[in-house]
């Protein structure tokens, strides 16, 4: 048992989607989950109850003994936000590749063409990245990018400002300029369930200011984006994320990814990682 991997909280279901008991995989091992009298439960393959947390519309569990509480997103509680369960997408790639792709803006013009980016607006300006030691999280701030349609609620092209936060190895929170409310941030998260080290279930969740779009419009907008990402994620070689420098070539635009990989290495999080060059 590797505590650096097992002592984390992992998303395993959208609470609103749990009907009967269901089997799934966590870190390559079978678990069962369900809901009884309004409370969710999770069991491992031997029938032992695992700890649970219900937060952000999702059920979280851990095969180990988490030494801290599941992270919070205080901004998401402010009134007027609409909380959107997007559902899930299964992707044949390392959970870490899925998170890293979420942290990347340079691909917008090529993968999310005319939605999150468009040529010739491809330049990525310098932004700030740091590992915040006191909370043990990776943060990228002052990330700016021109977007033709930043959100379902955006009327036309705008320069969007982003902040990225990695509060857990397989989770990321994105704070992004909110088109109808300048000064506030929309929140889009990516919660990744590691089914195995090369297969994951991605549970996006959003807390948005958007009074116009219907729930299903917001969900399909986000699902379209994730389908486009999946076509990339399932075609990267290797499927695992190389943590050692040398196998891939980062540039300044990739500073978030560089910090993320460095942080994973520092905390010993090697599930879904490739450590030696193949």
């Amino acid at each position: 048992m590797n505590t650096a991997i097992e002592n984390h909280w992992y998303p395993v279901a959208m609470i609103s989607g749990i009907d009967g008991p269901r089997e799934t995989l966590l870190l390559g091992k079978k678990i069962t989950l369900g809901r009884k009298d309004g409370t969710c439960w999770v069991k491992d393959a031997t029938g032992k109850a695992l700890p649970t947390v219900e937060r952000f519309g999702h059920l979280w569990t851990s095969p180990g003994q988490p030494n801290r509480d599941l992270f919070t997103i205080p901004e998401a509680d402010s009134p007027g936000r609409r909380l959107v369960d997007v559902g899930s997408v299964k992707v044949k790639c390392s959970p870490l590749r899925a998170v890293e792709n979420f942290l990347d803006i340079a691909h917008f013009p090529f993968v999310h063409t005319d939605i999150l980016g468009a040529e010739p607006h491809t330049e990525v300006d310098r932004y700030d990245v740091k590992i915040r030691e006191e909370v043990d999280e990776v943060w990228a701030t002052k990330v700016k990018f021109y977007q033709p349609q930043a959100a379902k609620s955006a009327a036309g092209g705008i320069t969007t400002e982003y902040m990225y936060r990695v509060p857990a190895p397989t989770c990321s929170v994105l704070y992004k300029t909110c088109p109808p409310r300048p000064g506030e941030w929309d929140i889009i998260t990516l919660f990744v369930q590691p089914l195995t080290d090369e297969w994951c279930e991605v549970w996006p969740w959003m807390a948005l200011y958007d009074d116009e779009s219907t729930m299903s419009e917001m969900v399909s907008f986000q699902q379209l984006i994730f389908m486009q990402d999946r076509s990339i994620l399932e075609n990267q070689i290797p499927r695992k994320l190389p943590l050692d420098p040398g196998m891939e070539v980062p540039t300044q635009a990739d500073m978030t990814s560089v910090a993320y990989r460095r942080w994973l290495k520092k905390i010993g999080y090697t599930y879904g990682a490739q450590l030696v060059a193949a």
Partner: protein, 200 residues
């Protein structure tokens, strides 16, 4: 190591990139607008994306993930996230010898001074996947251990064999310009059925 067929010219016109493979080597095969052919390792050095999913732009192959452009020598010469930057020479894709002759795209994974296979004026008809190793397909014609090209007496055809996996060979079929392509096509379908042991 000699020349091996990886595709037909008519299937890879200028401006097109396709995935191909020679045993364990996965390839991105593309044709520049000038008509020159290239076979590269199917992996972008930036973040590992398959280059065969990319697109040809001008005389470069661009990766679909972040749009990095590689010139015909395989060197990166444009990074869209940093338009003013001249990329260092060290960013390049492994390339293999590749050329087109007789309507067939030929690749050699190692430097070679061997001549291209002699096709006797035959022209490509089609490519057919056969669920057998290249050795097993070649053995059927009494050819040597690992031939890249087998001359077959039926219909006076040439089979250029591309070993894809242990259980898959792509047979690129060539015949005389005077041969009836439909008849050759039917013959190769029968051949595949016989080799794979299923009734035609």
């Amino acid at each position: 190591m000699s020349w091996i067929a990886v595709g037909l010219k008519k299937d890879v016109p200028p401006g097109i990139v396709i995935p191909s493979r020679l045993a364990d080597t996965e390839l991105a095969v593309w044709c520049a607008p000038s008509g020159s052919y290239h076979a590269w390792s199917d992996r972008c050095p930036h973040r590992g994306m398959r280059l065969s999913h990319g697109f040809v732009r001008g005389n470069t192959l661009a990766c679909i993930y972040h749009g990095w452009q590689y010139n015909e020598a395989g060197s990166c010469d444009y990074i869209p996230a940093h338009p003013k930057l001249t990329p260092p020479d060290t960013i390049c894709v492994p390339t293999y010898s590749c050329t087109e002759a007789g309507g067939v795209i030929w690749v050699s994974l190692e430097a070679t001074d061997q001549p291209l296979p002699e096709l006797g004026g035959r022209v490509p008809v089609r490519s057919v996947p056969i669920a057998l190793s290249a050795e097993n397909v070649a053995a059927h014609f009494g050819a040597g251990s690992a031939p890249t090209v087998a001359v077959v007496s039926d219909h006076d055809t040439v089979l250029a064999l591309q070993p894809c996996t242990d259980t898959l060979t792509m047979a690129h079929v060539l015949a005389s310009p005077d041969a009836d392509p439909k008849a050759v096509s039917r013959w190769v379908e029968d051949l595949r059925a016989t080799l794979e042991g299923v009734p035609a």
